[in-house]
């Protein structure tokens, strides 16, 4: 990424969208909307001083909503360009309120609340579409209860949990425990607020809240005592709840029994009939990393087939089974229900025994489908190219990079689901097709004349 950002022949237009494509191969006219960042790209050095002082917390979708970022942010630390961006939906100034702290903090003078979208017209010889894919929303599968069960997460969420720079610093904390800890923190704040109030009453009256409460009679009490006791009545259940939560939290441990469910949304006629190609490998990888992090971790991967198709992939799969406590179970999980201690319980058929089995786990990870991007239809209309029956950009097997319009090529998961090495190889191929389009050869000259 850094190499691309620094390459003299590459002009990176991040935070921009193609709006219109006219012309033909060799001489396209492309209109690009450069969205307002409210930060001057030439001045911003990416130092992050603005971010430190921004008062507005926003859910960080890079961490799949498991942590927060600020209203002025960069998508992730190593992002290229390192230019920060103001999120207009959350920035106080852009929402018409008072703030501007970032502007004061920015010593480069890069913050510009008046910035507008810019339209840029480009002369382009060939176009490569590499718009990728989107992760299937498992909430659409009612039997897996993704929205209701906190300890059912997607593979991408789990990926962030495993990351040392992620929301759990690489420890596999269970989301239910994270939520409980967050609740404890909130209640503690409330508790200390109430304690302060009660302390003021106690100091003034020279008596403990408890003693006043015991002898309290509403008919004879002063209005002040009434207010005091009202607060005390709020305080009592809160401490009880807090004590209960705290004792529960003592039993919290990181997730050690993991279940991976394959083909969530893919190879499923209700959603996507195709195979997403790379999920078997990322489940194995995640299980191996989880085991490396915590040796007591065991994983069960539930799948119809384990598709470890790539150089060294099947060897990796076997090694995971032998050395990383992974069990591969051929089964389609029918349902996930809640069990004691927020443990998800998987209901599936043990085909050999021909029995329905219920088995509980600490954490369940869903290998969600590689779905066509929502914007793909619009993109296809703008570019004047066709989609295939699965919703990806259409190509022909004889010329696997060429879309239905000359001079426009596609690579990566916008083409079809594929893994990293295949995407990299395809990107080079698309580049090659693009260069062929813009290279003038004697044969082409002959054709023109």
């Amino acid at each position: 990424m850094l190499d691309v950002g620094r390459h003299p022949n590459i002009e990176l237009m991040a935070y921009s969208e193609v709006e219109q494509v006219e012309g033909s191969a060799g001489c396209f006219k492309v209109r690009v909307r450069r969205k307002a960042r409210y930060v001057d790209e030439d001045k911003c050095t990416g130092c992050g001083a603005c971010r430190e002082k921004c008062p507005t917390d926003v859910l960080d979708m890079y961490n799949e909503g498991h942590s927060t970022r600020k209203a002025i942010y960069s998508w992730f630390a190593q992002g290229i360009p390192s230019t920060h961006t103001i999120d207009p939906d959350h920035c106080r100034v852009l929402q018409g309120k008072k703030c501007g702290v970032c502007q004061k903090r920015c010593e480069a003078g890069a913050i510009d609340f008046e910035q507008k979208d810019k339209i840029v017209d480009l002369d382009i010889g060939a176009i490569i579409v590499a718009t990728g894919y989107t992760v299937f929303d498992p909430g659409k599968i009612p039997e897996y209860r993704y929205r209701d069960l906190p300890n059912v997460v997607t593979a991408v969420e789990f990926e962030r949990f495993l990351s040392a720079s992620g929301p759990t610093h690489g420890h596999i904390d269970r989301p239910s425990d994270i939520l409980a800890r967050r609740e404890i923190a909130d209640l503690e704040k409330e508790e200390s607020r109430l304690q302060k109030t009660l302390a003021r009453y106690e100091e003034k009256a020279g008596a403990t809240s408890q003693s006043v409460f015991e002898t309290f009679a509403a008919e004879t009490a002063t209005p002040e005592q009434q207010q005091w006791m009202e607060k005390y009545r709020e305080y009592l259940p809160l401490t009880e709840k807090l004590a209960a939560l705290r004792s529960k939290a003592e039993g919290f441990a990181t997730a050690k029994r993991l279940a991976f469910i394959q083909c969530v949304g893919s190879r499923d006629l209700r959603f996507y009939p195709f195979c997403s190609g790379f999920c078997c490998m990322h489940s194995i990888k995640e299980a191996i990393i989880a085991h490396e992090h915590e040796n007591a971790t065991t994983s069960v991967i539930f799948g119809m087939d384990i598709r470890a198709v790539g150089k060294g992939f099947d060897e990796y799969k076997v090694r995971g089974g032998n050395k990383s406590n992974i069990t591969y179970r051929r089964s389609r999980v029918a349902e996930i229900v809640n069990g004691p201690n927020d443990n998800p319980v998987l209901v599936y058929e043990d085909t050999q025994q021909q029995k329905v089995v219920r088995e509980d786990f600490d954490l369940v990870i869903l290998a969600t489908a590689c779905a066509p991007n929502e914007g793909m239809k619009d993109m296809a209309a703008i570019l004047g190219i066709e989609l295939n029956r699965f919703g990806f950009f259409k190509t022909r097997p004889e010329n696997p990079l060429d879309t239905t319009r000359e001079g426009i090529f596609v690579c990566g998961c916008a083409h079809s689901p594929m893994d990293i090495p295949e995407s990299v190889a395809q990107a080079s191929s698309a580049a090659s097709r693009a260069v062929q389009t813009v290279t003038v050869t004697p044969a082409k000259l002959l054709k023109i004349s």
Binding site: L2, R6, D42, T45, C47, G48, A49, R105, C106, E107, A108, R267, P273, F274, C275, G277, D305, I306, R307, A308, V309, G310, K311, G312, F313, D314, E315, V318, R330, T351, Q352, N388, F390, F392, P397, E398, P400, L401, S416, P417, M418, I420, P421, E422, V424, A425, Q426, A427, S428, S429, A431, S432, R433, V435, Q436, T439, V440, T441, P442, A443
Partner: protein, 558 residues
Amino acid sequence: MKQNKTGENTEGLRVGVFICDCGSNIAGHLDCAEVTKYAANLPGVVFTKENLYTCSEAGISEIQNAIRENNLNRVVVASCSPRTHHPLFASSCAQAGMNPYLFEMVNIRDQCSWVHMGQRDIATAKAKDLVRMGVAKSTALEPQKDIESSIIRKILVIGGGIAGLSAAEALAGMGLEVLLVEKEERCGGLMLGLNVLETGKSAAGQVSELAATVAATAGVTVFTASRVAEISGYIGNFKVAIETPTGRVEDTVGCIVVACGAVPLVEEGLFGYNGKDVITQMELEQRLATGSFKAARVVMIQCAGARNATREYCSRICCATAVKNAMIIKRKYPLAEVHVLYRDMQMYGDEKEQMLWDARGMGIKFHVFDQKKPPRVGDGKVTFQHAVLDETKEFKVDLTVLSTPLVARPESSQVAALMRVPCDKNGFFLEAHAKLRPLDFAADGIFVCGSARYPVTSVEARTQGLGVASRIGAILFKEKLVKSGIVAEIDQETCVGCMGCLNVCPYEAIIFNRETGVCEVKEILCKGCGNCASTCPSHSAVLRGYKPEQLLAQIRAI
């Protein structure tokens, strides 16, 4: 005469030191003004400046003005990571007329201000130490020149299958010259022996058409029934010798593409293989193509000879081949019984999985078997343990088809030896990086595509063939090769020719000169890793920019 701490002559040295605040990233945690003041008194330093952001346009022009106005011959920037910013500062110095190799960078952010947050005094003291060391090293630096080498805009492609042909087509389409060497009488490779592709088109027809187009393209020379006999040299200038039926051809090329493919495994006795009623998928393809296929009950066995202790890998393409052939049989003979015995159906991606749905819809039966209890073939039947139902099953069979893996060609180790590129334990060529550089070798200027690397479908082979073309274009479209002057050098006077360096060089950049009896560095291949310098017992090998006196100057300044 001015002398620095180590007693070296500092006369004539004019060092400029730039201390970057990095907004508050550095200045927020240490006293940059004090570090700047401190730097001004270091030996050789004639100019110091603190910048809010040295990397900003303003910061860069301050460096360039200072070089011009103060006649600086050394520049030290104390800021962030050299990984991200060294190239920017060095090239900016060059623009102002200073040799870029006289620039030195000090990181007072990542390992200083960031790790000592809240300890301002400690961080400031450490920054001073680091700057002092950087200045000391800069005084010992020597000017260097970038290393340049000419480029021959011609490519040798080894192998005329779909991958090699696609590479040649794309390279010629970019206006480059191609020598394509095929060992058989005609180009086309494995596809010539196939029946039809998933699309229903003739495989041999498609690849022959491509071969004809490539052969007719200006700039492409095809040598059939030929082999590459010798390769020497390096990126930009490989000398190659090709043995052709009409004699030996010698030429020079800039890059090489390895596309020599793979072959399907044929193993006597494997599941009773006999080439008659137990055959391979490849043989089935030929029977289907010639119309000699005759069977009412067909059983296909997947992973025959693969994913086992001998051959651990999955051959990627056999499942799709089996499904394709099963569908062809079923379409032509709807009453035929076709069973596919498998371990995992590797129908990855969109179209292949759709094929599997369609095949099931046509009545082709799929059964899982357990690797530990493989099918038994004989007496006109196939018996196996069904892994899902845990039941023994038996099918009467007229024809058993084994889906055997593609294996590396026996000659590929010789091809690898010609270029000294590595193969993996299965005999496939080993790329530079499994994920990020799938088409490159670690050695510069040599690329790999198609089943020579690992089994691929014809579509994937074509994609990879086109892919290497752009990897090569990125090299050969330049006027000349230019690389960093930070390379190793070996003192010809003191080298005793022990060849210790030769063994540790990962880039084949050191050669032993038999005439002089000492080792020499091929500068264009050297990546400046320093392995040789740290190995050499007589200190004859050194790395420019990191010579002992330069590093010692830095260390002694601590």
